[in-house]
Point group: C2
Chain length 326, copies 2
């Protein structure tokens, strides 16, 4: 399976590493909108090309993994590439998924290609678990908690405050809320009761720390609805203690069965990730295998993780899976 990568940020680098863990895959080229000479990749002998040159590689690439951002890159890139390549993206703006799906679907059908969108862990693996658990326990309730982990969007929002040099924001589930859900108590939880936010901020020398803290904790949408803690630290401490991009979370379904709903059940799926982008990349790469197999069967159009048979993610045959994993 010959793979191309579009975009060489954290996600693109993660895909490059993940390809190395899968013997049936080979990285063919990395495409960038930057000047290709300025981009150094790790895989020896693989070219870095400008995105404009991708079409020339049409027949040499089985699946193109699109590693751009959901805000600006993917809404344009995924439909454009889906007309010429089988593609995978990690589009994660939940509210815009239906519109993105329609545009990608039209493009992929026009080109006779397979596109799999919104691949990752949420949307992605968490969606799968909400789907399975909800179908199995229709009389029940879903809870999704995120963290403990770094939220890039919230960290960026702090960095835009006057007097802030750098910042890292952690989203943390409230332990009491998790405990209540796990106990099958089916609590009604407000935003504030589900997650807290912890911020590590490097301020400019002489900045008004009280004002920065106030601007953070009262920021609408981002922080105002949460209990937020702010710690001012040095740039050295930020680099030393907060350099990683960990994340994770939990999806829980609590439901009832029995003639009178007399029995309770808890289905829980959790992720504890040292590197959010590398894990997301690993999911993208597994779904690249599925896209390749679907395309080989003559499928076309846009799919999501909900549409794809689990076995298509594995390099193993049906016989092997039944004997070893079932």
């Amino acid at each position: 399976m010959r793979i191309g990568i579009v975009g060489y940020g954290n996600l693109g680098r993660g895909v490059e590493s993940a390809i190395r863990q899968n013997a049936d895959m080979e990285l063919v080229a990395v495409f960038t909108r930057r000047s290709p000479e300025s981009v150094k990749i790790r895989t020896e002998g693989v070219p870095v090309l400008h995105t404009d040159e991708a079409l020339k590689m049409k027949d040499l690439i089985d699946v193109m993994i699109l590693c751009g951002g959901s805000a600006k890159d993917l809404p344009e890139q995924t439909p454009a590439f889906a007309e010429h390549f089988n593609v995978i993206d990690s589009f994660d703006t939940h509210a815009n998924i239906p519109a993105h799906f329609d545009r990608v679907n039209a493009a992929a059908k026009a080109g006779g290609k397979v596109a799999v969108i919104s691949v990752g862990w949420d949307p992605g693996l968490f969606s799968l678990n909400r789907m399975y658990a909800g179908a199995i326990l229709p009389d029940g309730r879903d809870y999704t908690f995120w963290g403990k982990g770094v939220s890039q969007g919230h960290s960026d929002a702090i960095r835009r405050i006057d007097g802030v040099l750098d910042a890292r924001q952690y989203t943390i589930p409230v332990p009491e809320a998790l405990k209540s859900v796990r106990a099958g108590e089916n609590p009604e939880l407000t935003t504030r009761q589900k997650h807290t936010r912890e911020c590590f901020v490097v301020a400019c020398e002489g900045a008004d720390l009280a004002r920065i803290e106030r601007e953070i904790v009262t920021m609408p949408n981002y922080f105002a609805d949460y209990d937020t803690t702010v710690h001012f630290i040095s740039m050295e401490e930020l680099r030393r203690d907060h350099g990683g991009i960990p994340h994770g979370g939990v999806v829980i379904r609590s439901g009832k069965t029995g003639w009178d709903g007399e029995h309770s059940h808890i289905i829980e799926y959790s992720l504890k990730l040292d590197s959010n982008p590398e894990f997301t990349s690993s999911v993208l790469v597994a779904y690249a295998r599925a896209a390749y197999r679907l395309a080989g069967e003559g499928a076309c159009g846009c799919k999501t993780v909900l549409d794809i048979p689990p076995a298509y993610l594995s390099p193993r045959s049906g016989e092997e899976l039944r004997a070893m994993i079932l």
Copy 2:
């Protein structure tokens, strides 16, 4: 969707209850090998018929859910029914799944029907999670823990000992083992290090309790390889405190990503079930929906949970799922 149930034990009763939770399903008939007059079901107006009469209902039943045991019933029943009906079974003798698959596949293909075998939680949901997690983190390791829960087979083994009136056996994961796996330590674990077994035994009056205990803890295959605790209790206590059939367990994959495997990740899936048979029944019913949809598309032959797109389990459309769950 018109459903038939074959076999009316714990599982069959669970399926009957689960059908009531799914508005798109209707129970059409319950089939039994006992005398039908002796079987009272809960759903009003639904007939109980002898298994021999099932074929007459061929055109009135969309999916037949087979609720017999894996040891004696399903190896015969599933191939026999799969020639005439779309069927679901919960065949759970892991080692015999490949042979069972082949026989059911031949029968279902001959009849142009869809059969889904080994549906439940292990095999079933646990298999799905081993499959997804293994495909996403190829450089990693799987751990499956069962319990805390009642093992029917082990309880039966104790009941066969001379001087035992009744017994209940709980399988319990060793907390230290779970903790080590969750910490990403990738331990090598022996059978004894993974699970303990706790037995509640009602002995005949005057029975030699020391001998019974010795026979339990030294029983090959069942108990000899485990740390086993035996408690002698009264029949009253057994009924009062051990009447339920709870179960559950955990599937964990611990894996590495990054250019040099420098980042660790933990994927964990866990079930905490008040009623093992009712939960299994709920999984069977969700897969009945999938079988019906596959059959409607002209599919035939034997499938497992690994072959079935997740969305087929849900009564919701692709549009709804993308908007609500993805």
